[in-house]
């Protein structure tokens, strides 16, 4: 990232914020999971043991933190393998104020 490139700085901050939201939501939804044990490369199913119930619980947490209603049509087509995919999703659906 070039110094002084404000759009790149904003993107980086957005992603950091999105990742933080995702980590908090994951720890709330999956019992026993600790933030310090998380990284974006981990797989949601294979590494974190996320099932459909935990996925929905995570989305409920995110909706509450983002303060924006999540729409069925925005979520239905997503196939998420790792934590980074979920962070990408949050970046896409976050309202401007949350970014």
């Amino acid at each position: 990232m070039a110094a002084g490139d404000s759009s790149e700085v904003r993107t980086e901050l957005d992603r950091r914020r999105a990742a933080s939201l995702v980590f908090d939501a994951l720890t709330a939804a999956i019992p026993g999971l600790r933030v310090e044990a998380l990284d974006e490369r981990q797989e949601l199913y294979a590494d974190l043991g996320m099932d459909s119930l935990a996925f929905v619980q995570t989305l409920v947490e995110l909706e509450s933190k983002l303060d924006v209603p999540l729409l069925d049509e925005d979520l239905m087509t997503n196939e998420l393998v790792n934590v980074a995919d979920l962070v990408d999703l949050v970046e896409r659906i976050s309202p401007p104020a949350a970014k």
Binding site: G49, D51, L59, V60, D72, M76, E79, V81
Partner: protein, 463 residues
Amino acid sequence: MVAAARDPQLPTHWFNILHDRPQYVASAMPRSRLPEEVTRAGHAVQLQQPFSLARQSLNTADRFIPIPGEVLDLYAQYRPTPLRRAVRLEERLGANARIYYKYEGANLTGSHKLNSALAQAYYYSRAGVKHIVTGTAAGQWGTALAYACQVMNLGCTVFMVRATLRQKPIRGEMMRLFGAVVHESPSDLTDVGQRVLKEDPAATGTQAVANGEALELAGEDSESRFAVGSGENSVLLHQTVIGQEAVSQMAVLGEFPDCVVACMGAGSNFGGIALPLLGAAEDSGRSIRLVAVESAACPKLTRGRYLYDLSDALGTTPITRVYSLGSTYVPPPVYAGGLRHHSAGPLASAMYADGSLEAMAIDQLTSFRAGMMFCETEGILPAPESAHAVAGMMDVVSRHPRQGPPLVVLVNISGHGLLDLDAYRRFAAGEIEPVEANETRLSQSLKALEEFNQAIAAAAEAP
């Protein structure tokens, strides 16, 4: 376009028991804690249910959840359903009781299952899903979903348990009439089905296998999703139109039941009638007995264990704490195929665990005897599942003292038995046996279930 005027007694909201009892929200065992779990690298997490539907199962904030207008208009075509007093049955039994029944069999698809099928098809359609895949045991859910999909312009594929499809092939024809593709389960279309057939080519099938096949097939097409007809909190929620109507209809008669009886598969018709009555009883400071009637061939509440278990044969759905006979238990074929699921749903299980409901197991012969008596006295032939509820209600009534205040009892007739005429013919011919659980298979399955949970506990304690 609205096809029928909405009756004032048609509820405009679903009743959400999770508001009053948030402890009933299901919690799943994190899969990472499972012993010897096959961690499938690269396996994607994906919503099977639309988010707005799935979140209903977790909603503890709202006691009443609005029914979407489009669903309400469809409900208006067949709801409110009748509530009647079974006067002739009371006379036949010589009972010190006033017996009321709610009849859910008068809609086109013949059972209460339509209440959730229409709601689910609405949410899936709105979310952009094109095709729904499901598993069905007795075929009532499959029929209802096939019709609902047709209404919402969705494709529909149904895996129906082999034993019941062969008992009543006309169920399959009815689903096909509504545009569904119907497969006998186990089938050779899926890995799940092939695995079962390899082990036992004559396998009778179970709801767990049918659901596993449906999940697998749904996962192969990005525009398809899996749907389920019982057990989930959201499904029980949709069914609460039954109990809410019953509360108002009985109030018009100046009545409130002392006892509510319904059959128990995974909990949808039971929850549908019982939960609003429980809410109304608590609102008015009354006490109420809730009695779940299960099949003696599949006695998950009365003989099961309250442990973590798989719900389907694919094994990817949440592993929740339920009263279960073990997911490997294959109940003997009985005509009440809707009562053959190996476990009760998480909500019904939690209610049984905390003493909010009672349970009894009824054998097949006793249920047909009760169903026949109900038909002779009330002019309605109950589905074999509903006949279990009638038999359970008769048992409750027979134990009530002959002197003193009469018992006011409400029973849910969840569906008609007009597609089960062959079973009733066999009953009349003396060919029906009182089928009990398969003890050998049951003890093996319970042992496996307990070992599975011991291993979970050991894994949780491991450093």
